[in-house]
Point group: D2
Chain length 415, copies 4
Amino acid sequence: MSVQLLPKKLKDLNAALIDQFLSCRIFSVNLCENLTAEDCQIQSMEDSSPIKWHLAHTTWAVEVFFLAHYVDEYTNFNDSYIQLFNSYYNGVGKQHLRRNRGLLSNPSFDEVIGYRKEIENRLIGFLNTHSLSVEQIDVLQLVIQHEKQHQELMMMDIKHAFFHNPLLKNINNKVNVKPPKLKPIHFIEYTPELTSIGVDQQSKNLKSDQTPYLFSFDNERPTHKVYVAPFKLADRLVSNEEYLEFINAAGYQNSFNWLSDGWAYINKNNLTCPMYWFQEDSKWFVYTLQGKQPLDLNQVVCHVSFYEAQAYATWRKMRLPTEFEWEFASHSNKCKQMIGKLWQWTSSSYSAYPGFKPYTGKVSEYNGKFMLNQYVLRGGCVVSPDNHIRNTYRNFYYPYQSWMFSSIRLAQDLL
Amino acid sequence: MSVQLLPKKLKDLNAALIDQFLSCRIFSVNLCENLTAEDCQIQSMEDSSPIKWHLAHTTWAVEVFFLAHYVDEYTNFNDSYIQLFNSYYNGVGKQHLRRNRGLLSNPSFDEVIGYRKEIENRLIGFLNTHSLSVEQIDVLQLVIQHEKQHQELMMMDIKHAFFHNPLLKNINNKVNVKPPKLKPIHFIEYTPELTSIGVDQQSKNLKSDQTPYLFSFDNERPTHKVYVAPFKLADRLVSNEEYLEFINAAGYQNSFNWLSDGWAYINKNNLTCPMYWFQEDSKWFVYTLQGKQPLDLNQVVCHVSFYEAQAYATWRKMRLPTEFEWEFASHSNKCKQMIGKLWQWTSSSYSAYPGFKPYTGKVSEYNGKFMLNQYVLRGGCVVSPDNHIRNTYRNFYYPYQSWMFSSIRLAQDLL
Amino acid sequence: MSVQLLPKKLKDLNAALIDQFLSCRIFSVNLCENLTAEDCQIQSMEDSSPIKWHLAHTTWAVEVFFLAHYVDEYTNFNDSYIQLFNSYYNGVGKQHLRRNRGLLSNPSFDEVIGYRKEIENRLIGFLNTHSLSVEQIDVLQLVIQHEKQHQELMMMDIKHAFFHNPLLKNINNKVNVKPPKLKPIHFIEYTPELTSIGVDQQSKNLKSDQTPYLFSFDNERPTHKVYVAPFKLADRLVSNEEYLEFINAAGYQNSFNWLSDGWAYINKNNLTCPMYWFQEDSKWFVYTLQGKQPLDLNQVVCHVSFYEAQAYATWRKMRLPTEFEWEFASHSNKCKQMIGKLWQWTSSSYSAYPGFKPYTGKVSEYNGKFMLNQYVLRGGCVVSPDNHIRNTYRNFYYPYQSWMFSSIRLAQDLL
Amino acid sequence: MSVQLLPKKLKDLNAALIDQFLSCRIFSVNLCENLTAEDCQIQSMEDSSPIKWHLAHTTWAVEVFFLAHYVDEYTNFNDSYIQLFNSYYNGVGKQHLRRNRGLLSNPSFDEVIGYRKEIENRLIGFLNTHSLSVEQIDVLQLVIQHEKQHQELMMMDIKHAFFHNPLLKNINNKVNVKPPKLKPIHFIEYTPELTSIGVDQQSKNLKSDQTPYLFSFDNERPTHKVYVAPFKLADRLVSNEEYLEFINAAGYQNSFNWLSDGWAYINKNNLTCPMYWFQEDSKWFVYTLQGKQPLDLNQVVCHVSFYEAQAYATWRKMRLPTEFEWEFASHSNKCKQMIGKLWQWTSSSYSAYPGFKPYTGKVSEYNGKFMLNQYVLRGGCVVSPDNHIRNTYRNFYYPYQSWMFSSIRLAQDLL
């Protein structure tokens, strides 16, 4: 569970919320410390956005979803921003064309930072003078969690953008720690039968003395019963070495490994390895947040699409787990690398849980309208912010996408 | 269940199989009785195929999957046909480009009929001289059921092709019977809890005296437990009148009715009504197998995509049933129009049942490789051949497609 | 000059016109003698049309441009044909979508033949009862010449369609005559200076006793002065052997041979040889009207695009002739293969001659609106009908196109 | 003629060249004075480039075409820049993908300025120590003129980019001067007959005391005779008021005004007015370098494509001039707005003059390979740099393009 320590005494609630809010906001800006204004301007594909746009959009969310709703006679910071930084909320109004986000040199990075500060001040001003209703706390939590999601997107997007520049620059200055030698995968057996999946409330214990405070998105709710047959789950993720065996065994050239759409996709796009892998003089390299690196066979494979994950599993005569198998297994500690290492593709199509209730109001479009054609990933990753991922968290991407930090965990039937 | 009366005495088995095979084969050719060779030549989109191609491909399946496999020292009827009439079986070899099927004026319709007769004779010759193994019976049943699937595709494809000719000709000469006035939809309550879905074997009772003989595809297998929460299901399909209310209420103009991909799709393609609907002088018409007809408000709505079905249900503040809800409900007789009227979209992504085993050998690609990005329809339709549809039958299409005879059945949670 | 023997005595004029008209009409139908109705149905690319459509469209032209205009109270044969068989005449009305011509299985081939006969009868009826004005004769000549243009298109289009069927069938049953061994190209010197290009009238001598009758299209008119500097022109067309030297010298892999657009085009489409050339076991073959043939090195190269023609000339350190150089040279007999062998690309962009007057009325769109982005070819080809090509005839295609019977004649400056 | 004052005494030649070079270089950087680094980063379409890229590419040209060629044992400033800032010179090597120029946040604007300074220093060092050959002077002149061409492109590209940002910012701070009321167009008569077009040398009088120094590109050479029939030319360009009459007369809705390709293009792209025009509350506005402005009816129409220019002329029952007519007329002073106001579309396809010799060496691809599918514009425009445009200057664009400062001058035949 995503756990936030919240005040034991209610009178400190708003101070704690301000603290939580500001630490989230600062973290976003800190992500840009090695980047120039030009770096924050570029957009390398329609699926991604400029860093500057993320900084503005997460501010827009605070303004539109909270301030404009709860502040009396609220005046927009800048009317044109309402359209410029709207991502996909038709209920809020028109949106600047997604693929043209990278063309918005105005407002400048500095102006966006100014926008951020003003909106932060407005929110803090409100929190200093109002006692929040449960609904208001819920919306505030949502916009904070929303910004955390965008913090991860910022790392995905800048990595993708820099990869399209032959200079292949470092993004952060961290040292790449060599992981210990991996042990062979061991399969853990689970016999769940009828089990409970999901959570019921966005926030619990909020006004009690009891910690922790718990958060969830609407798409994780409500809890419901699912029958899950006995299964086996790999105790770690697939390694680069194991994935390279698939490549070297002509795995990308054999249609029998692939689902029909995946086979068409990799052939149309001439794909023969995961995103960010490339060869020079027959040696494999990979682009990372620390720049170009020789492929480390001992690392977990990263940036695979659903198509690739499924093909790899098929080639191993295994399969991907369902999201229900994954969630059940995550409650015990028998498997490693479940939370916070790399996202793990499941075989589950992203759809509504029985009894699903989307958010109401302007945020109703947050999750529900994407429940088609996408597949669920579980577990979070190294660039997911702290206090953001939990066992019930459902991430979702189209099966062709691989610019998120995605990996493979194998599963098998338990006969 | 799809029921075929098979011989009580085993010695008559092959004669019965010949009979079953030939009646299926004749039915295909009879579907062309009102069509010219030119009609059978045309292909109006990449998703569809020419009638002539269907006639050849279903023959190819008999040759490649049965004769070439079981006849000693088999010689192909025509080596080039192996590629020309291969649909998507990479294991069999290369395929003529799908979108160019309509360019194959050679072989001619008459030559394809000649191909059909020769292959039929070869198969009958084999059946007259061999006692079949269970595997051989299974493959023979599969190619027969395969041809029945193509009989339905033939009706879908010729309708689509004729719609793209402004002359809007009749396809068959049947008289359009006016349906009785529909009663309001009534919702039936079901409380399944843990239930059994699917079937276990392709064929049962084959060599016993007991009828019926039962057939299923690999994707319907095996039986497995699914927890299904209480739900309500509409006792009939949505009518044209009801769907027109959605159109007239600007249902196609309000993004909140639509999933994100559906909204993008209908806007990109300027869709404002189901396929085959059109307006003249503000009156609605629909293209049918009997040519252009005024829209009959009392008929069931047909040729809707998943996007449209889902949007309609959302607009009614309801939802589509899962395929498990549908299958459970189909075993009682409380709902009407369940089997043989029109296909009914379910909210279930097409995926493998737990323990799914695809066919082995050349037919392994029959169903399994399509288990991605498509959604399940249940129940068959008026152009599905006799003895073809059953409660467990899973049809599947992409959510944008609507040239199959698809409709909408509403569902709701039962609180 | 395109010469038609016309009557010395005026009273025989109409009889002669009927004769000319019918012999043209019969020739079109005779082109189909080896084709099935299915062959006549198919359309292999947007640039081409089905044979059946050509048969109907040339009839449509007689009906729309002549009968509907000159017959009192004319009733269309079939109102829907006016749209179905309109090629690109916005002034006549809407057109059936060009790329969907191959979907018109209705009307059938037989019905189109019926349409042809009825329109022919109507025209003959008119000619038998009316003395034609000069304008009427001009329009009649135009629709005859129009049909001749489509006769050539029919051969181009059916060849293209059959090439996309792996069976690679023969189209006609003529025997391929082996040409005599070619002599090396010799360059002829010309010093035209100020010269006269084009013609002035559509028809001359029409009502006089003097033959011949002369025809020209509006785009060949009027005569005008052009200054042409001294130049040298190859006395024959480029051979397959010579073109193969270009291929073997990696001519398709060296950007310096190509204009920028051509280089982009051949790379995008992976072109490495002329249309209809292909290799099997390292040997070159070519698809011809007589089916698949080994490449005859002694034949003239055919089916090259402007891009290819220009690249070849550049590689030889030469250039293509302008259309004015070509026309000037054509008036003497010093060069061979000028008329009736293969079309010859010129470097001239297709544009209006000074003082150009497009046709008036419904045929005004015949030529003028295409005077952009296309390049002029001169000289006609083996599938051009008799009495159709002349020195001033200007054919035009986009520089990427090569399904017409096009070849290369080299030119050089004369210093 | 483009006239540069050059030294009367030869010993001062290099100092004068340094002066000419540096003043050109400074002008480029000065164009950015109102722009941020982010503004200089963005690329709004494949046809355009980021400002930063222009600054780097014009430096690359000095390095690759001059320094790398003439400096002994030259070391590249940065090897990766050779590919990054190569526009289209296959002879120099591979090029960074054109449409991805906007993704190069590295090198930063400041780094590009550093690149510029270092290359300038290297060139000046060379000029201070070497006596230049004629070839070296020619190459130096070429890279200076090349940079001037890019100075105009910078204004075109930043205007296009800013137009795609709803904030519609000012680019420069100049005041929009209201032009005097236009007089009706008057047509000037010309009777050239055989005339001389083009120039013969890149530079004349270079080592003599006589000024001026004359420059021309290879595509303006050599002089050659052209027969030009008598014609009439409008004494000024078409105004916004006149063009608006065309719009209001449904000029964009009537196919008869348009060439076939133009009609297809405006319909596919839903064009109903020139680029940068838009309506708000039924009033016309236009985006200019000074931001959004009400449409000034008294200004010359700008940013029209060839398609639009031709359609307008056709609608007026006139035509565009040929480039030969334009050049002939430009030598007298009877027409206004010939040089330096706005580019004027001619009806001439961009092609080689008889006897055309492209540059040799790495700059051979400068002009020649684009001589296809494009049309010639003459006369320069307000954002063309000083000392850059001359009577013989041939600009060229595809007929769909309109982001350059292009206008319309009408012509007619003189009978």
